[in-house]
Amino acid sequence: MNKPQGEVFDIGYQPYEGAREGRNAARKALLIDGMRTALGMGRGLTAKILPGLLFLALLIPALVFIIIASVVGQTGIDDLPGVADYYQGAIYPVLIFSAIIAPELLTTDRRNGVLSLYLVRPITSSDYIIGRWLAFFLLSLIVVWVPQLLLYIGVNLGSTDAWEYLRDNWDDIPRFLLAGAALALFTTTLPLAAAAFTDRRAIAAALVIGIWVIALAVGNALSDGIGGTAGAWLALIDIGSTPLHINDMIFNQASDGPGRAAEEVPKAVRIGWYLILVAVPAAFLYMKYRKVSA
């Protein structure tokens, strides 16, 4: 007769003998975590509301235009806002989306002290800030490209000959991709830089939105009031419209949004101004985080 068998398994602490992947894996983890945080994933329902609402705010106009396009047919299409004009309206939800959500990626970690825990791992503080920036930038790209893509396809389908439309307007695609990227670059960097000033997300958001709104008001008021070439240059104060200038330059069209007076200013200057508005906050952000030592 066989003796009954029994075994006890060791579920105590086991040392880890597996792979240790190094900096790139850590950066990737940070990137994914950054994107998830911004979207509110894994953080309950309330955290998802804001990103969800804003994404809808961007999608809905695109969808509406598509529906209208399919109804009015070829003749009406040219009158509808197309990919070239989309950002003129979409910029506001994107600005708000970024101002409110981007700081979340930085302020929460500072406020609850998690940053110290990152810094004692095999990454550097520049890895951290680049990872956070990249996370939001990629998310913003998705946010600004998807509606444009839908709009483009929708309008395309609405036209009488889709292939002909595509052949004639294929260059719209790289244009809106570039314009979207320019917008995303702008709306990612400024809010994150603002978040470096304060630990409270609401203050960072208020700071950024405040700056944009004031710049809009002051810039346009001055430029309308003074007029002429001086007025054109003064319109550059409306920094929020800088991505729109880039958009218009890419699509080679006249500006007719706010800050349009600045159209007179030479292209090189406007491009330079845009680059300054992106590079300076970026540099500031980078320098601020390089010195952090928990």
């Binding site: 880890y16 240790r20 992947e21 894994g42 998690v114 825990l117 810094l119 004692v120 095999p122 030592s293």
Partner: protein, 311 residues
Amino acid sequence: MAELLQAAGLSKHYGSTVALDSVDFAVPSGITGLLGPNGAGKSTAIKLFLGLLEPTGGQALVMGEEPYSLPAARSRLGYMPEHDCLPSAITASEFLTHMARVSGLPAADARTRAADTLRHVGLDEERYRSIGEYSTGMKQRVKLAQAIVHDPVMVFLDEPTAGLDPMGREEMLDLIRRIGTDFGISALVSTHLMGDVERTCDEILVIDAGRVTHQGAVKGFTEETQTMYIEVDDRRDQLVAALADRGIEANGDGHGPLLIENLSDDGFDAIRDALVASGAPLRRLAPGRAQLSDIFKASGTERESGMSNGQ
């Protein structure tokens, strides 16, 4: 014993303030207590070994490498800060997994080790609840868990029992002891409580005014003395007399314990007989013992340098 941490001529200056003054010491494997007055260089030393600060002079080496300039050197280190450092909106499980990944563990391993580590620190179903809902004791456990999830060689624990009530403190100290003995992880425990050191540490290192003032095995600082202490619940005077009858001088003030110096081996029997003869109920008979706190009782000039970032 292998030297895990090494300070070689290590200095750190903040402007004109000298936090560490060209110190040399080595921390072996095992559990070492780091003691010293506030603002005297303790936290600075920890931050230098974690790579959070750059030395002004000399080197802080972790297993031979410099953690400040070489991020990879930090992969075998863990840190349990004193301050709050946990997010409140996510679950312990998710947080640990994320931290494990940032420490370089592949996704699947990160997940399983996170779950195992939380179990080992005593968090069971709670690990699926948001950290924001946790008590202080549970949060301390999560802090400890993220410090060991990647199986480090050494962890730095800064005031691990702060804010815990007596039972919580007891459990945390047991956990720390287990980390050393069962998990095979070395630890540097920075604390102000001698009780914490006595219960967990094999060695101590004392940093005062930027210098190392004491270092060595705990046992060396808590040796038994030559003095015998006797505590009785009653008939104390009768006992003193009975001892004197047998040629033993017992001193003591008021109602405190009786002290007998330089007892010979035969003296024990005399004590025993004196106890029986006097009918004094014996509460305690034991040699005196040096205390860790004696290190700090020796008078020294006040060394508060008052740096707010030296805390």
